[in-house]
Symmetry: D2
Subunit: 312 residues, 4 copies
């Protein structure tokens, strides 16, 4: 059974939760997604993140989704266990770890303000779920309104041996990666894996700054895999050229709120999920917006054949 | 089985959740609290509110507490079901209504901003839990950062037949009560019950503005019962005199964060709960603070014999 | 000319800015206020704070008010110079220091989040206004949404020799005073003056925790002076008895937004300002609210003769 | 003298404020910018916006900058007059209108929450500056934390005849444009000009949704002019192709905080300003970041000759 470690690298797509139009979980689409992730070179998968509509699932559904993904995949599955309190967080974390998850991801509650409050929160969370459970810090100020200075992240890493990864999605965030890698070089922080989220909007340069890969839900994880590989191989221009071809669409998908609707629509167009249905509350996609996405898909298709099928 | 209606009045104490020092739920203290509430004239009880440490309980614990209170009490039990998403909210609401709860209380997520967002949220919540489940709006901007204009509350009431009560804890909030009662008089809003929270800090005048009672966790609900009764009887000076005698302590208890520690400490001093333990994260009470509470108890005791026992 | 130092103690009332009903500044009321503050035992005065309606004044008006107070008073005058940027802050600070102010008060912009951001802001502000200008940190999270951990305040004090006072109005805040005084005892922070704001809501205990006095605008600064004196003399019960007699009114005045209207109304009732007019935007006082204030004044008057005149 | 009207269209660049390395305003760079804007086809210019470092200027400097731009340009100059209160806002608005400004731009204070609060604020602001002064609503939730529903914008437009333009930078914001244009079609709102900000990140589609142009500070306003023109001419593919070539750089420049440093650096590279100095507080550009911008400039240059000079 895979365990998440600080050596993780590559692309961990954030999986959406596919629903039938009536709101039930669509398990065969979930399987199809799992197979697709493996096929396109993902090195892990994260389920039940913000864009996995985690807050719209009850406990049993959450465990069922995580378990299904774990049993279908041979790569590590990270499970979002963010919760308003430590009791439900522990209950979920224990259940999914028992089911074979490789680790969990924890976002901070948006009431945290001071450095101390943030560091204390992660320490208490780690104790609540168990010091043996590898966890990922989700650093996403745009959504969570919690601003973590690099020194706070270092403190969390140093105070909690089970902290193995940063889901980096501060914005702007390039200097943060450089600063954290500098902490590692000067010996003040042990190494952790840094995978980048924020829709992938800066993945091109994040890799150059020292990130280990991507951890985001852009509807073409295959492109993310290629960009990460090209950067690792030192093919900077090729990486940027591929990235730039997707950027107009990627930017469109990265809009707060409506972004998930865009993502599910594209995944549906790609034949990966049967329906782009979301549970309430959900921002719907207007016909005009669908047309815009179609147009962007057709433009991406000029450079990347994978988009051709989707826009057919 | 009691059902919550817009005719509710009197005092609905917000029950804390008593824990053993090791973090387990203390059921006999819960029973003692239930009996105490009945004995002191409460007309209902609210469990699993913010100060009931609801986010620190997992689903099964939440249902167990609500069920125990329902089975022990003959007065309506309202259950807080606020959740980050509608699926866990519905699951909990259904479970506690099946167990005999009279209604549920719903706080808004702190991401809501516009009038439309707030009204839509309550409509979707009502549909999620079922249009047959009576619900209470919790209007507490200080904690939830959501500001509900009176017109928004009116809109929620008019759009959802199952909205029967406002837990009023806006601050300042006196004009809001007057405005809402004005809406009822001008026929633009049907009558709802308004019970006041915010620690009871303005209960003296809130009753005069048209509130129906109190819905807060001050450690002397017996005093709240008396103030509400005195105001209903038109004995304004007597109501204020009793209220003012408690105000120094009440103000101390109403501090954000540490307030719950104060409350549990007093309830422990009163012999109503066996321990003032809280689950993490919790603001602890320093020895100095305990001494301050003791001092305030001794001062209240000069005017109100009920505080004498507690400070003995 | 008085200079603000870390030895400051006693009561620095926050002066409101009196306006004529047509919005012009009422200079003779300003003079009357100045004389009253001196007469009642204030040891300093703060002008152009949040409740001095500072943001509603333009630069020339601000300088005029500060200059008039300085020339009328023989006690230190602190001037609020908070501004959206350092250029206008410096311009105002320089102008009022030239006019004889004893120091300035600086509130943090509500965009600050991390410890570093807060400490950097105060360092840059201090450099902008000049390292020779004594300044006061205004620590009021309820209004400014900036949470300063005690260690951050220590850092500001240690990094800026010109930081001489803390306007303490965190809530809850008693432990913060104890912690800061502990820093002084353990030698990690030099001594600063701590004067308490937040409407005076916890002044009774703040003095016992080590505060040096009050820095708030409650409409009976004479009571604040007496409470501070009684506490300094060790007459705890007398201090609390006097404080408690005012608490119902003080609590009413401390409401966000409408509080200033209450304060100006009482000062008008006391004959200290000619009109309770505010500039826009302003929360008005309803007739009902005025009646409530009158009632509270009459109740205070039973214990404190000074309120008798006001309620006459 | 130009007056801003609801018929405004085209590109109004947001001008940065050029400083010498020692912090003084660089007037000759300001002149060069003005000439460049005219030369590249801008139809107006906005000064003293957020990215014009307006809060870092004192009153006299603000007036001087606005006056200089007005006297140099024959196209309308809009001046940002956002202020913490109406008195300084009025003083500045009056001064710049006297100097020949075409209108003013007003951002909401970040304390506004409810629909009523927002609408009232703009009505009071309009009355404060004078009902004869044309004004622009700045709708930028990402920076100001104020969320304006389309119905609120409609209300501001309908209640204030002097409201002539929306600086549209909500995110996501495409549907908002469609909704507002729908209000115009259904007769519930009079026509206003909609110019788009947010760094231009969605300008390609915003034009298709009904926007009249751009009002943002991207360092290639000449590209914005071309994209707007191409869209007006119905050359969709050409517009997107040009836009997409700039998007990697545009995205990089649109980062919060550090974005202004990027912008000034590029403008310096283009020879339009002598120095990329900012006043404090400022996010600096690391050497690594400069190299990234250089790389992006070289990539843009493959498609757009104008970037060639800059990257030379």
């Amino acid at each position: 059974m895979a365990t998440l470690t600080s050596a993780a690298r590559g692309v961990y797509p954030i999986a959406p939760t596919p629903f039938h139009p009536d709101g039930r979980i669509d398990e065969s689409s979930l399987d199809r997604l799992a197979d697709f992730y493996t096929g396109c070179g993902a090195t892990g998968v994260t389920v039940l993140g913000q864009l996995g509509e985690a807050p719209k699932l009850d406990h049993d559904e959450s465990v069922a989704i995580a378990s299904r993904m774990v049993s279908r995949l041979r790569i590590p599955v990270v499970v979002g266990v963010s919760a308003p309190g430590f009791a439900p967080m522990r209950t979920l974390a224990r259940a999914v770890m028992d089911a074979g998850a490789a680790g969990v991801m924890i976002a901070p509650p948006n009431t945290l303000r001071t450095d101390d409050q943030i560091a204390s929160y992660y320490h208490q969370a780690s104790q609540a779920i168990g010091a043996d459970v590898p966890f990922v810090i989700q650093d996403y100020p745009l959504t969570f309104s919690v601003v973590m200075a690099p020194a706070v992240i270092r403190r969390i890493v140093q105070e909690n041996a089970s902290c193995v990864m940063l889901k980096h999605e501060d914005w702007p965030g390039l200097e943060k990666i450089s600063t954290l890698r500098g902490f590692e070089r000067d010996g003040s922080m042990r190494h952790i894996s840094i995978l980048c989220g924020n829709g992938g909007l800066f993945l091109d340069f994040e890799m150059e700054r020292g990130a280990d890969g991507a951890n985001t839900g852009y509807a073409f994880p295959d492109m993310l895999v290629d960009v990460v590989r090209l950067q690792v191989e030192g093919r900077r221009d090729d990486a940027h050229a591929l990235f730039d071809a997707h950027l107009p669409l990627l930017r469109y998908e990265q809009q707060p709120g409506v972004g998930l609707a865009v993502r599910k629509y594209i995944l549906m167009r790609r034949g990966l999920i049967a329906s782009d249905a979301q549970r309430q509350p959900a921002a719907a996609l207007s016909n005009r917006a669908r047309e815009e996405v179609d147009y962007l898909l057709s433009r991406v298709a000029r450079h990347d054949a994978r988009a051709r099928l989707a826009s057919a």
